[in-house]
Amino acid sequence: MTVVVIGGGATGLGVAWDLILRNVNVVVVERGEIGFGTSGRFHGLLHSGARYAVTDPDAAKDCMSENTLLRRLAPTAIELTGGYFVRIASNDQQFEDAWINGTTKAGIPVKPVSVPDLHREIPGLAPEVVSGFQVPDAVLEGFAMMDLLARAIVSRGGEILRHHRVDTISITNDRICGATVSGPTGSRYIGCDAVINAAGPWAGEVAALFGVAVSTRPSHGLMVIFANRRVPSVINRLQPPSDGDIFVPHQSVTILGTTDVAQTSPDAPAPTRTQARELMALGRVVFPDLDSWRVLRAFTGVRPLYDFDGLVRSSRDLSRSFSVLHHAAATGPQGAFSVLGGKWTTFRLMGEKTGDMVSDYLGIDIPCRTRETPIAQKPQPKPQPTTPDPVICECEEVTRSQLIDQPGSLAQSRLATWFSMGPCQGTFCLHRVLALHAERSTNYSNDPAPLRNEREQGLRAVLWGDNARQLALQRSVRYQGLGEEWAEL
């Protein structure tokens, strides 16, 4: 049995992981890098479910149980920071009561914390905070989790095709029998028994290959990254889920999320200054000295929301829950599945439900094994380099040997090592990494522009304080120091 999964984000990898543990051959087709869509563009929060305790009790329950499972299954990709919900005087008491009620129903352990303790634990917190609670939120290292999943899938014989697209899906007697994919090395036909659309915001485009229509309701969120770990735990504002109310400590940075803007395109738009400023204004309510935090960059991610009932108010009212469709139930071919909606925290559960449905279709009676099979692998001890191993990216302390260990594109290498992600945003290391790659590659390129543009794109919406100076420095180094081709920004 072979199944093609379209989309190499958290959903697609979760589905592939589930199926491979049921002894299904899996081919994951990803058009860019792993996690290049929504999965690589989120705030990094492993939800306890408390955020949805009032507005979406099902999602709250799912989050809590998945949160508990993932801590055990993939401890290296999760940081147990804990989280706080804090209420500002202007947010009403009634919601707090409903929230406590909701968390109890969803089984989320919540512990009240006194205001003086809050101020002691969370430096810089607004004096207007009137109450606070501790919840089991955690931080999910998205790329680390996807890397674990991808390695686990490949080590069990699965195949992951990066930079590939599905061009056509072959259907015989109303049953899916294959898919033609194309990538950098050409085109290829994969005979298969089912195709699963796990394309997130692009689910509508993929469903069209099945000949069916799927109505997605994408909305994007903008997030701002600050250069230091300013908060010890996840900080949520205790109010109905809203803009600018989550701070997540992520390794050495802090992420402030998010906005919620409906859009029609599935692609993430460039961050705008207006949105970034609006987000700052909201964040300042919780941390009044927010303007003095050294900002790094802004980014946007598209939520793959899906309209279950046909009843849409605002996109925040759409359930964060998910749905798995077998299109044969309506007008589509047999063996065509779509996984719609969902959130990072529940990727495993989505995999399980999809796996159940696909197994049922394929007549496989092996149950889901992802609940008990660890995704984490023991880290391999790296051999000590014998030649000099200078630090190439000083911000993130990435050494030459770490970069050389990484095969593949510069983008893959960036996600694996985190080079160019620190305060200098690649000003001093991009050309070095480009050189390392060019020396070892037959596809020699000395053009740093694509990498530079990607980094500068994230800077432009948050050009204030030292970040504006950083960009000026980057331009000077590029054009005066390194003699790069002039390109208007």
């Binding site: 705008t272 200054r273 207006t274 400023r277 700052m280 303007d291 030649t387 000099p388 191993d389 200078p390 630090v391 190439i392 050494t399 001093f428 050309h431 070095r432 480009l434 050189a435 390392l436 060019a438 020396e439 020699y444 000395n446 500068e456 432009r460 050009l463 204030w464 304080g465 504006a468 100076r469 960009l471 000026a472 420095l473 331009r475 000077s476 180094v477 590029r478 054009y479 005066q480 120091g481 390194l482 003699g483 790069e484 002039w486 208007e488 920004l489």
Partner: protein, 398 residues
């Protein structure tokens, strides 16, 4: 009576302004918070980029620059700069060049420049080169440099990597290499290692080495290498820290110190009562005039607030507003646009703080510095605080 001037900032514009004022008999005090951006500069001086503009000499297109000086004034300003560099022990060709020449980056790209200290490689046309790198030295990437150079110029080149010097650790920056090559042991190691590496080499190509040949005596070291290897040897600049710019700053500051210029370390927060400079620790420095060389957004002289206001925090003057539609290029060249934003001829703004044009795009960095400092001095002369320069009366020529 001696005129006293406070210069804020010690980047190229501040150092040049202080030097000129000192030569003209002023009592100069330089106030600066830090080294500024000089350690990120190789020490080359750019005028109009003649190759990009397809002209033979910069003199043909002076009207393209927003600051209008006559050809004679430009020529005098360049001449005085070159004289100054020679005096402060930065050897350059002591004639104002006629056209831009090529220097080379650590990524193997040819870049135009007008004047460079004589340790740095400069050429009029591409020639066969041998790029040398040292293992463990960031920004020395000879394989890439050579590939890139040859593919863009069609001129053959080769690459050679020397082993890491004894005692190397991964914390060594370019500056640490420079200190090594200030020592006899370091130079011996370099000569010896290069001689042995070069045996296998075929043609005697010009050798380019990283710009780390000592902080103190790079020219002597280059001469020794040339003698030992029997071929031309020059340096190519690295990015950061840039030893070339630091050599220049170090020599320049020592010369200013010997000439009687005072250095004050501190952050200026305001200018009070037109010419009293106030520091963040409440010190107050009074003088007859102030020159602000605080470097624009790059130097930190302008700050962008979250709401997009672009502010000179010392003068408390907003120079612009960053909105959704403002282009980044416009932001990065923002400055006061006028020499005397306080409408007081005793306060002048020079260099990037003045704004006006984009040195990164246009290759006009030194022109901006030279012209704005020249105009600031002329303003003080018009105001009666200075008399026109007569080299024969120079008091501080050490």
């Amino acid at each position: 009576m001696t005129t006293s001037v406070t210069v804020i900032g010690k980047g190229p514009a501040g150092l040049l302004a202080a030097s000129k004022l000192s030569r003209r008999g002023c009592e100069v005090n330089i106030v600066a918070a830090s080294r500024g951006t000089i350690p990120l500069w190789s020490g080359t001086f750019d005028f109009l980029d003649t190759r990009r503009l397809a002209i033979d000499t910069p003199w043909e297109a002076l009207e393209r620059l927003p600051i209008r000086l006559t050809r004679q004034e430009w020529s005098d300003a360049w001449k005085e700069l070159l004289e100054l560099l020679t005096i402060i022990d930065i050897p350059v060709d002591n004639l104002v060049p006629q056209r831009c020449r090529w220097t080379i980056t650590c990524t193997g790209r040819l870049k135009t420049t007008f004047v460079a200290p004589s340790w740095q490689y400069l050429t009029d046309e591409s020639e066969e080169l041998c790029f040398v790198g040292i293992e463990g030295l960031n920004d020395s990437m000879p394989e890439f440099q050579s590939k890139s150079y040859t593919s863009s110029t069609g001129t053959p080149s080769e690459a050679m990597t020397l082993p890491a010097p004894p005692g190397w650790t991964k914390r060594w920056t370019a500056l640490r290499y420079a200190f090594l090559f200030d020592s006899e042991i370091g130079i011996d190691w370099l000569v010896d290692t290069l001689e042995r590496s070069i045996v296998a080499q075929s043609p005697a190509r010009t050798l380019l080495v990283p710009q780390v040949l000592g902080f103190q005596e790079p020219l002597a070291t280059l001469d020794r290498l040339r003698g030992a290897l029997g071929r031309p040897v020059f340096e190519y600049p690295l990015v950061a820290p840039s030893v070339g710019g630091m050599r220049l700053q170090d020599r320049w500051e020592r010369w200013l110190g010997r000439s009687g210029v005072n250095f004050t370390s501190g952050t200026v927060t305001a200018i009070d009562g037109s010419t009293t400079v106030v520091l963040d620790d409440k010190r107050r420095l009074s003088s007859d005039a102030v020159i602000m060389a605080t470097g624009g957004i790059l130097g930190g002289g302008l700050r962008v607030a979250v709401d997009g206001t672009v502010l000179d925090p010392i003068l408390d003057i907003a120079v612009g507003q960053l909105d959704e539609s403002t282009s980044i290029e416009d932001l990065l060249v923002m400055g006061h646009g006028v020499l005397d934003p306080c409408k007081d001829a005793r306060v002048a703004v020079v260099g990037r703080q003045l704004g006006l044009w984009n040195p990164d795009r246009d290759g006009t960095g030194a022109a901006l510095v030279l012209a704005s400092v020249e105009m600031a001095i002329n303003q003080l002369i018009r105001f009666g605080l200075l008399s026109p320069y007569d080299p024969s009366e120079e008091p501080h020529h050490v």
